[in-house]
């Protein structure tokens, strides 16, 4: 496997209070890999993802994507935000929201583009809802719109910032499986930030654990489970349980340390 996303000695200092959000972060994500980033709240994992997406610049270090330095948002990289109620524009219908991703691309045929967007909505199970407004949909459906919109640009890599954390348990499980299907089908590379240990282990091939503030890499583990995964079987696999136990103690240690150091 070849390196696709490379993060080198990344550090981000908050201008407001001069403290580091994270420091000394280096890791590599291979093409087609599914990596989860996990850490206690305030460890800078979300900030790290924003920097990796080119939405914010690092204080030092650099990121490259496909061998090219990231200096701003790139078209082969799509970001899925936690706050779908904001990221999906409420004044646009579902279809219009998805179409926004491709509307201004050069040399696109209008009709072809609309068909592509419809296809993406079918993909995430929203085929019947193209003319609905976001407020008429449940949270899970709104986040599906955001995923369809990201996919409409035919990205190579998805960066997802706690995309399912605001959803109820059933919705979350459904979307996890949907995401795994899409990842497999479209050969995507995915970096998935979450604070949910089970979610990280269920989804990813590799889990990167960040330490408490300022975030540093505390641990990197490979998840030895194969795909397709199953919400019941995978989560009760002995290897899964063992890994979960180990990461759980790493996480609690980090949280305790964060409390001790915290304000």
């Amino acid at each position: 496997m070849s390196n696709y996303l490379e993060v080198n000695n990344l550090e981000k200092r908050f201008a407001a209070h001069g403290r580091n959000a994270f420091e000394d972060i280096s890791f590599v994500v291979a093409k087609g890999e599914f990596v989860a980033l996990i850490g206690p709240s305030g460890c800078g994992k979300s900030t790290l993802l924003h920097v990796a997406a080119g939405l914010s610049s690092p204080t030092s270090g650099h990121i490259s994507l496909g061998g090219e330095l990231v200096t701003g948002p790139r078209s082969e990289l799509m970001f899925v935000f936690q706050q779908y109620t904001k990221s999906i524009f409420p004044w646009k219908t579902v279809l219009e929201n998805v179409r926004l991703a491709v509307k201004y691309l050069p040399n696109v045929d209008r009709k072809q583009m609309t068909e592509l967007c419809h296809a993406q909505l079918e993909h995430v199970g929203l085929g019947r809802y193209s003319n609905y407004y976001p407020y008429q949909l449940s949270g899970g459906m709104q986040q599906r719109v955001a995923i369809a919109r990201a996919l409409a640009r035919r990205p190579q890599i998805l960066l997802m910032d706690e995309p399912f954390s605001a959803l109820d348990a059933m919705m979350r499980v459904e979307l996890q499986d949907l995401l795994l299907n899409l990842w497999d089908e479209l050969n995507l590379t995915i970096v998935f930030v979450t604070h949910d240990l089970d979610e990280a282990l269920y989804l990813a091939q590799r889990v990167i654990v960040l330490s408490a503030s300022p975030g540093r890499i505390a641990e990197v583990v490979k998840v030895p489970l194969g795909y397709p995964r199953n919400q019941v079987a995978s989560r009760s696999d002995p290897q899964y349980l063992q890994l979960r136990e180990r990461l759980y103690s790493v996480m609690t240690e980090q949280v305790t340390r964060a409390r001790a150091a915290g304000p």
């Binding site: 939405l55 948002p73 990289l77 799509m78 904001k86 004044w91 926004l100 201004y104 407004y133 640009r153």
Partner: protein, 257 residues
């Protein structure tokens, strides 16, 4: 008490009819003075002046200068508000000035305007413009400034340039607040147009009403005031109708009907 009376607007309409009836009866049987004519006499005067074209002409004169000043205020207020809301340096540059000028009541501009633009049609248009401008400006820039950073980040990840970001995000996101400013200014614009006409003019509803009072045609005076009430009411209704068409997504998602 039956529900429809308290739960609908029926009671409000009945109150208006009752008050008009009391007015009529008091003017006929209790207060015998020319300053308090019965409603029916006012209505006769109103019909007569509508039919001979006097009132429609004055109404059009008022509406024209109001709409001209208001329209200019809308264009300038929105353009400047968008720029100030979007570009932080422009906001820092102009906001203190806006805050300093804004508390000046609209009519206070009148003496300055008389000096600079005279007492003609232009004076009234500019008076309306100046007074209507600030609510639109303020609401527009605060609407733009309250757009969530996540929405701007979304626009960036989708590769939108500045112009596209304005079109797809900034203007629609700020539109509920822009429309609030426009509605406030619509009421202000009518007030200032009539005020300007009452100070110095030879047409318009303000002129008509004040002239009627000065020449002791009291029913005509009331007819002018009634016409203004109807005009203000109609303008607001039309505005609400247009607004609900434009930002239905906002009203329905925020639970407003």
């Amino acid at each position: 008490m039956s529900d429809w009376l308290t739960q609908s607007r029926a009671s409000g309409l009945i109150l208006i009819v009752v008050l008009l009836l009391l007015w009529e009866l008091s003017a006929l049987y209790l207060v015998n003075t020319p300053t308090w004519p019965p409603v029916t006499r006012i209505f006769h005067a109103w019909i007569a002046n509508v039919l001979d074209g006097t009132l429609p002409l004055h109404l059009l004169a008022t509406l024209w200068r109001q709409m001209l000043g208001y329209g200019l205020a809308v264009v300038l207020g929105i353009l400047m508000g968008l720029a100030m809301g979007y570009y932080r340096p422009l906001y820092n540059l102009f906001e203190p000035l806006v805050e300093a000028i804004r508390p000046i009541p609209g009519p206070a501009y009148l003496p300055i305007l008389v000096l600079f633009v005279g007492i003609g049609h232009e004076m009234k248009v500019v008076l309306v413009l100046v007074a209507s401008f600030f609510p639109i400006l303020l609401n527009t820039f605060s609407g733009v400034r309250s757009i969530d950073p996540v929405q701007f980040d979304t626009a960036r990840t989708l590769g939108l340039n500045t112009l596209q970001t304005f079109r797809e995000l900034v203007i629609p996101a700020a539109s509920p607040q822009i429309l609030t400013g426009m509605r406030i200014s619509l009421a202000i614009s009518l007030i200032l147009a009539v005020l300007g006409e009452m100070i110095v003019s030879n047409d318009g509803l303000g002129y008509y009403t004040l002239l009627a009072q000065r020449t002791f045609r009291v029913p005509e005076m009331y007819a002018g005031i009634f016409t203004l009430a109807m005009l203000g009411y109609t303008l607001n209704r039309v505005f609400l109708l247009v607004e609900s068409r434009l930002i239905r997504w906002h009203q329905e998602s925020s639970g407003r009907r």
